[in-house]
């Protein structure tokens, strides 16, 4: 009884917060405060009620990350009338997201469909003729919605394939990644920095349900797509100069790595959750940092026109550097921990696949480093007015950095049962003649 009730409760708290925030629409400060309280209450409720939930095989890290990401995303956003809708919609998405993560069967699908519908409506409302390609993104989100619908009425393996398509839209997998990129680049206000955590985390959480039932041929295709996707996204990230696209493609590259490991081993491990969660959170942090720049130098600021912020904005510089390190997979942050965890515990992986994943990991050192270096170092622009981080921005970014650090230092034992490594080693030795 309690197990069935808790998901609804977890979904209702943020949704109720959204309604409360909406009632004080006229006062932006109050809307923001209410939204933040809603996120905090959501986080508290997760901590309090997680014990009543069945812990999925890949752990329950995602549950904690969602309200946290919502909180940091809202907190970092400056006050303004134009931002009220995005704060409230953050809570709405959080509510549907919590429901989709925790509820089973039909109610879980219902929440996910509601979430996709919300995002589609938001993208439709914010569509501009300058970005015609965002229609593709909307189309792919609709495809995800249709996939969810089919899965509710069809029998396996058709239903599994349909869910796989939805998962590939949420946790982006080339060629269904445009929906994710659209949300990262086209959603208004603080929403990109939240949705970048929300969608992949839900997508990965749903993977264990289908990996066991998907035909081997389909898994083979997923493996190929994931490997090509990791490389393709890394190449695309290297070619971009717009920060959101660099981050979008960069995170896509890492998500493809998670897809590859999941498809290779046939199950979604806690290490995979850690990688997806940490990559999402690091990307979210970098999007927040970019939001800081946009707040100061207008929305359409060209990142190549800014340099030398390290001297003028030292607090921002330190946090951005740390986030950059985390995003490119350098220890001791969570991305590295997740990546290493997957590398060490996936003995069935092929040499070629490992080589490509390592290449994608290495490429992050270029595009993330280039981006961070462009903003922080080089000659300082005396004609620009510099304001270092305001307290809410500082707290928000600091929370993200600390959580990423914690994810690296306090690994999967927190959210998944420990696995004796000797069994894995024995298994590895059996497979000592590696597949090519």
């Amino acid at each position: 009884m309690m197990e069935a009730l808790v998901p609804w409760l977890l979904a209702t708290i943020p949704l109720a917060g959204a309604i409360m925030a909406f009632t004080s629409w006229e006062d932006p400060e109050r809307v923001k405060k209410t939204s933040m309280i809603g996120s905090i209450l959501s986080l508290v409720s997760v901590v309090g009620l997680a014990g009543f939930l069945t812990i999925p095989p890949n752990g329950c890290l995602s549950l904690y990350l969602l309200p946290l990401a919502a909180l940091t995303s809202i907190l970092s956003h400056p006050l303004g009338n134009d931002h009220r809708r995005s704060w409230i919609m953050t809570l709405v998405c959080l509510g549907f997201g919590m429901g989709a993560l925790t509820a089973h069967e039909l109610s879980g699908s219902f929440f996910l469909m509601m979430l996709l519908i919300t995002l589609i409506i938001l993208l439709y409302r914010h569509h501009t003729a300058l970005w015609p390609i965002s229609w593709w993104g909307v189309g792919l989100l609709i495809l995800g919605l249709v996939g969810m619908g089919i899965s509710m009425i069809a029998d396996p393996p058709a239903s599994s394939i349909a869910v796989l398509v939805t998962c590939a839209v949420l946790l982006p997998l080339v060629p269904l990644h445009v929906g994710y990129l659209t949300t990262v680049t086209r959603l208004p206000g603080n929403l990109p920095s939240f949705v970048v955590v929300l969608l992949p985390v839900i997508g990965f959480q749903r993977l264990p349900q289908i990996l066991a039932t998907i035909p081997e041929d389909a898994l083979g295709i997923v493996r190929i797509l994931a490997l090509l996707g990791a490389l393709y996204a890394a190449v695309k990230a290297l070619a971009q100069w717009r920060v959101r696209l660099v981050l979008g493609y960069g995170s896509l590259s890492f998500f493809s790595i998670a897809w590859w490991f999941a498809a290779t081993t046939g199950f979604a491990t806690p290490q995979g959750t850690l990688l997806v969660g940490a990559v999402s959170l690091a990307t979210s942090g970098l999007l927040i940092a970019w939001q800081v720049i946009r707040t100061r130098y207008r929305d359409d600021v060209d990142p190549q026109a800014i340099s030398g912020l390290a001297a003028a904005m030292p607090r921002f510089a330190v946090l951005l550097s740390l986030l950059g390190l985390a995003a490119m997979g350098i220890p001791p942050f969570g991305v590295f921990a997740g990546f290493m965890g997957l590398m060490l515990t996936s003995s069935q992986a092929s040499v070629f696949g490992l080589f490509l994943t390592l290449t994608a990991w290495l490429a992050a050192s270029w595009y993330i480093m280039q981006m961070v270096q462009q903003l922080l170092f080089g000659a300082s622009r005396p004609d620009l007015r510099h304001t270092d981080l305001l307290n809410p921005e500082l707290v928000s970014l600091a929370i993200v950095v600390v959580v990423l650090l914690a994810l690296g230092l306090v690994p999967s034992a927190l959210f998944a049962p420990e696995q004796p490594i000797l069994e894995q080693a024995a298994h590895a030795r059996e497979l000592s003649s590696w597949r090519n």
Partner: protein
Amino acid sequence: MLPSLTLSVPLFLLLASGIAMFGVDLPRFRREKLAAFPVGLAFLGSLLTLYLVTEQGPIVIRFYNTDSAASLIIPLGFYVDRLSVVMMTLITAVSMLIYIYSTTYMYQDGHARRYLSLICLTDFVLICMVSSSNLMMLFLFWQLLSYLLYLLAHNHTHAGTLAGAFKTFTILRIADTAFLAGIVLAFQLYGTLEFYDLFTRAAEMPVLLSLWPGVEVSGTTAVTFLLFIGAMGKSAQFPLHLWLPGSLFAPTPVHAMLHAGIINAGGFLINRLAPLFGMSSTTLHIAFVIGTLTAVLGASMMLVQSDIKKTLGFSTIGQMGYMIMECGLGAFSLAVFHLIAHGLFKGTVFLYCGNVIHKTRQDPHFPHTDHAIADEPAFSRLTWSTGFATTLFIPLLILLVTHGVLRIPLLESQGTVIILFFIWITSSQAILTLTRLRAVASWKVSATMLVTLLFVVFTYLFAVESFTAFLYPNPEEVASYFKAADLPDWLFDLLILGATGLTVLGWYYLYLRAHGHSVWTPPWIEGLRIRLYPLLMNRLYADESYRAIGLSAKQLIHRIDKLERGWSR
């Protein structure tokens, strides 16, 4: 007490970093000077640990459960044996000197505190790296070091500095990736990253890996080869050496630290994993080839550089080549001895090179050039005859006698013979240079040189033997490494004959040239000499090649990006 003492060494450095970085500015650089005390205490702690480890054996501290997969991610632990503690002592000693030097050197710099803090943080990372209890922790700090090297470039507003720092970071990351692949492979094959367990399992379970049908390599070769690439990056081995000359613009104390401490990481890694490397002759041979190539190229490029920092930089590359070559010959302890000696020497030279530049600016006649050579008559036949004997044959005799006196088993391993030849060539080259520079090769001077050589060689070999016995108390272990590194007989003979021939021919050439005789050389050699000079002066155009590769890659990436009709249209 022992664990606390061991832990106090890195913690003192971390504390120093914190003192330098945080808090308000104090007058007269008091905060920066205050931070020097923990740095000094770290050195004292290392000395004490050195004594205790020598007396009581290795110290093991683990903050993780070795049987837990979940704890594998960041398995923090310390394993301090003689190798670690020697490195700790070297690092903290050099760091202390550099820190004290830096407080004055960076006095007027606006970001001196950040710089000093980063110096201490780098020392902390280095100490943690050399005292890691497992490969994962070692790799963790290894990577942090790559990033710290980027930050230590310091003046990031200067375009050249920034480009050099970025190049350093990216090249080191390539090597780091190979290192990571080695770790993953080691874990997949042997199920552990704990040093001792890894060595035991690798010895007990020989594994063959099939790269493609018909081509198989042993597990240890694959693992050590990947780890060796990691070592090549940090120790600036050809072709991953480009980052070292590229870091030219960093503050001079950073160079001292880089050349005295950080660059030794590769040698340390190979020594730490000596039992594993000792199981793979193939990797040792590769190390020998790469090391020799780097030594030759580094030394050659050093000779034709016009910039003091670049000259010293290429000298370091050459020395690191020697060190890796020694590892490739199985002389692991000699490599450590070499890196300590080189570290202390190069650190001193770098800290002093600012003075040389300063003096040069003040005194146009500095450095003094010896113009007397051109005016002096050519050496007499007797002078050259004695020189020939004293610099070519007697040094070899001295080396053979010293080996005999110290009971170094010369004929039991190829490595010892090659190293003997190497010392012979370098010592005769050193005496020859002195003879030519001063043009006073009298019996008295020659005798003095030979006595000095005897003293140096005896002391050096005695110290090396003692150090080897200290690091590897089991002589069988040392012999097994030499054995593993044995080259095919024909190659060994060829090397010895080649080295002898080159030395004698070189002498003959110099002798005739000094007498004003024209020396016939095949035209292709003359042509090669002319072509080699600009090639070496321009550092084999490696920077240009690197830039061209980067540009081509960029163009390709943008072409691919444009091909795909997507967001970046």
